[in-house]
Amino acid sequence: MTIEKPNPLAEVLRRSSVLFIFIGLCLLLSLLSRRFLTFSNIINVALQTSIVAITAIGMTFTILTGGIDLSVGSIVALASALSAGLIVKQGLPTYPAMILALVIGATLGAIGGFLIVKGHLPPFAATLAMMAAGRGLTLVYTRGWTIPIMLEEFTFWGTGNLGPLPVPVIVLIIIFVLAHLVLSRTRFGLHVYAIGGNEETARLAGINTDLVKVAVYIISGFTAALSGIITAARLWSAQPNVAAGLELDAIAATVLGGTSLFGGVGSVGGTIVGALIMGVLNNGLNLLEISSYYQKVIKGIAFILAVVLDIYTRKRR
């Protein structure tokens, strides 16, 4: 049988299928609602997407290694509470408080990663534990109360603008560019893919797989903490129950974006598109005045479709 050369056009189409879904969704919504394709609404979608997207970029690293991070929602809440609380309650200056919140988020990620590589816990179990612990710490720290924060130096990170763009969107763009460069250009990035492809081979090739795996959970913890700060800054307050279930949104965005739940395949570019699909879907459902209760069901269905697509393309190869 003559070896069939992969048709380059088909390959491009296959790889960008999410992009077409995204464009199709946008077209559909612009037909259904006049308000969809307005500048303010587009900025609104970008702003709403940024928190999920930043978190999903970190999630992409863990899923690429064949792992998963269920703790991100709790880390968002904890970082949000700490950044606001350290300023309001402990009187720390803004930036040290924010940096401390990032460090603690990354540390929680590191603990999860450590449990996985040294304790040999499955990633879902280790990060499920961190999810519970993180939420618990948030409730302990806030005693269950909302911490309001009006300090403009802080709220700027959630509500400010630089030129036409909201600050969270700019943060997202910076994080995306960095993550993309790390994954596509660096040894570390290649090793992330290698571990997801075949961990044993990667280990035998002399890669310190434990170190790489801990690092991806640190990255995931860091991006979650960053999302947490932005969340508090946007809401002008830290709420202890914020971002519950965000892990599902982040995982869905990642998988929708073409990153395989089995590891080894994917990109942060895809993840951004995945997050945008989720954002546009949310926005569209709001514009169409569909109850937010239904929105969760629809999100669940979108997630199932994404995973089915992943499994299907895997089988085809």
Binding site: R185, T186, R187, L190, H191, G196, N198, A205, G264
Partner: protein, 507 residues
């Protein structure tokens, strides 16, 4: 002990695992630039010996001399640094990285800034390494897009790029077609000319005689002997391996032709199976030969209802049937022993009894409760009839040898009294003794009237055990031979598509 020509001597090596003496005082000695075969039945200690050599298992006692010097090999990384590489049975490349990235994984050329990779150097070096062995694969090809044979070539290139001068190949031909095997052998010969030493582990004794200079035989963890290939015959080595006179390898009994049990008419699927017409008679062993990728497994899967078919009819006992699922196929009296027996045929963590009776539970249940006494009796019967070597029925299947695992799968199907049994590579990776037993079992089943469709990539097996041979090429049946009618070369010619050469890899 270490003389000039010995590149490697493993002296008085012993190793025990809990409850098993895996190696007992084994001395293994390899000359520079030779192809040295290491043979023995499953459990003879070949793998353990090679794992010690490549640093993934520590030895209990003994000394390893490399180039005449006592050497400690305590990790795979150390073995690699010493120039010892192993090409594993399960290929160890990363499917979604490209060839160049795989070859230099973990030692990527450093780029302009710390942490960056110099991609152009990486691909240039990879291209150079591939060219050295005349392998026409682009270093930017994704490994997932390569054939098994090509992946193996890449693994060898990777080993050589690590400056390996001793390469251990563990069953490298088990997933290759005859033609790919020939290609691998010529590569091995050219490596040998370059002074690379190859340790070759294989269950296919014919191959050992085709390629090796000397052969070391292990049995039950002990050294049986070392013989030069040129001085002994196959029978001699096989006797050394099994320690007894072996029954006939292909004990085929003649069965008079009876009525057709399975008829396939015009079966097509995608572009992979095209207009397949075949008839399988009661009591017949029908061999299905062809190159890897010719569509033989796909045909078996289509007949068994695993993959849907686009066109065509399947008849059983002169009745047109509609097989849309394996359940349906089983209900119609078919059995399928898949190629990947551990992944698709067995519940490794479950006991022998459970594995044998799992498909027959309907018969064994009353009001949803399993009649354990009856299940035990049934399983015990098959263990005796098929001579499955297991300490008891409670033993987990994981702990059985490959041959005995295969017998458990066959027993599972026999418990359903099938009319048609499809066997996909039934003796792959099974040692010679057990192989002959599986062949005898097949012959016996045929005699009892079961129609057997056997896919095999080993031509001696196809020719030795089949009543009739069909040859498949590019999803079509292209040739049919009666038993004893065809020569190995003729079958190969058909399998390769006649005069049409389509070898896209330049040799």
């Amino acid at each position: 002990m270490a003389d000039d020509v010995s590149v490697l001597v493993m002296e008085h090596v012993s190793k025990s695992f809990p409850g098993v003496q895996a190696l007992h005082d084994v001395t293994f000695e390899v000359n520079k630039g030779e192809i040295h075969a290491l043979v023995g039945e499953n459990g003879a200690g070949k793998s353990t010996l090679m794992k010690i050599l490549t640093g993934s298992v520590p030895r209990d006692s003994g000394t390893i001399y490399l180039h005449g010097r006592a050497t400690e090999i305590d990790s795979p990384g150390r073995a690699q640094a010493l120039g010892i590489s192993m090409i594993h049975q399960e290929l160890a490349l990363i499917p979604y990285l490209n060839v160049g990235q795989n070859i230099y994984l973990g030692r990527e050329p450093k780029g302009a800034l710390p942490g960056l990779i110099d991609w152009s150097t990486l691909y240039a070096q990879a291209r150079e390494q591939l060219a050295k062995l005349n392998i026409a694969i682009d270093p930017k090809t994704m490994v997932a897009d390569l054939s098994i044979a090509q992946r193996q070539m890449v693994e060898i290139v990777k080993a050589l790029s690590l400056n390996a001068d001793i390469i251990v190949m563990d069953e490298p031909t088990s997933a290759l077609s005859e033609r790919e095997t020939e290609r691998l052998f010529s590569l091995m010969r050219s490596l040998k000319e370059q002074g690379v030493t190859i340790i070759f582990i294989s269950h296919r004794i014919e191959e050992v005689f085709a390629i090796a200079d000397r052969v070391t035989v292990l049995r039950d963890g002990e050294l049986v002997g070392v013989v030069p290939i040129s001085e002994v015959g196959i029978g001699h080595v096989v006797r050394m391996m099994v320690g007894r006179e072996l029954g006939e390898m292909y004990p085929k009994e003649e069965v008079p032709r009876q009525e057709v049990v399975l008829r396939v008419k015009g079966l097509s699927r995608d572009n992979e199976l095209r207009g397949i017409e075949l008839e399988l008679y009661k009591g017949e062993i029908l061999g299905l030969a062809g190159l890897v990728g010719a569509g033989r497994t796909l045909l078996a899967r289509a007949i068994f209802g695993i993959d849907p078919i686009d066109k065509g009819e399947i008849w059983i006992d002169a009745q047109k049937v509609d097989i849309d699922s394996p359940q349906k196929a089983i209900a119609l009296g078919m059995g399928f022993v898949p190629e990947e027996r551990t992944a698709q045929g067995l519940f490794l963590g479950m006991a022998v009894r459970q594995n044998i009776t799992i498909s027959a539970l309907d018969k064994l249940c009353r009001l949803g409760f399993v009649n354990f006494k009856e299940a035990k009796r049934l399983a015990q019967g098959y263990v005796q009839r098929l001579d499955i070597r297991t300490p008891n029925l409670q033993q987990r299947v994981r702990n059985l040898s490959g041959g005995n695992q295969q017998k458990v799968i066959i027993a599972k199907w026999l418990s359903l009294n099938p009319k048609v049994l499809i066997l996909d590579e039934p003796t792959r990776g099974i040692d010679v003794g057990a192989k002959a037993e599986i062949h005898a079992l097949m012959s016996q089943l045929a005699k009892q009237g079961v129609g057997i469709l056997m896919i095999s990539s080993e031509l001696p097996e196809i020719m030795g055990i089949s009543d009739r041979i069909l040859v498949m090429h590019e999803g079509q049946l292209v040739g049919e031979f009666q038993r004893g009618e065809a020569s190995q070369d003729e079958i190969m010619l058909y399998a390769a598509g006649g005069e049409k050469t389509n070898d896209h890899r330049k040799a």
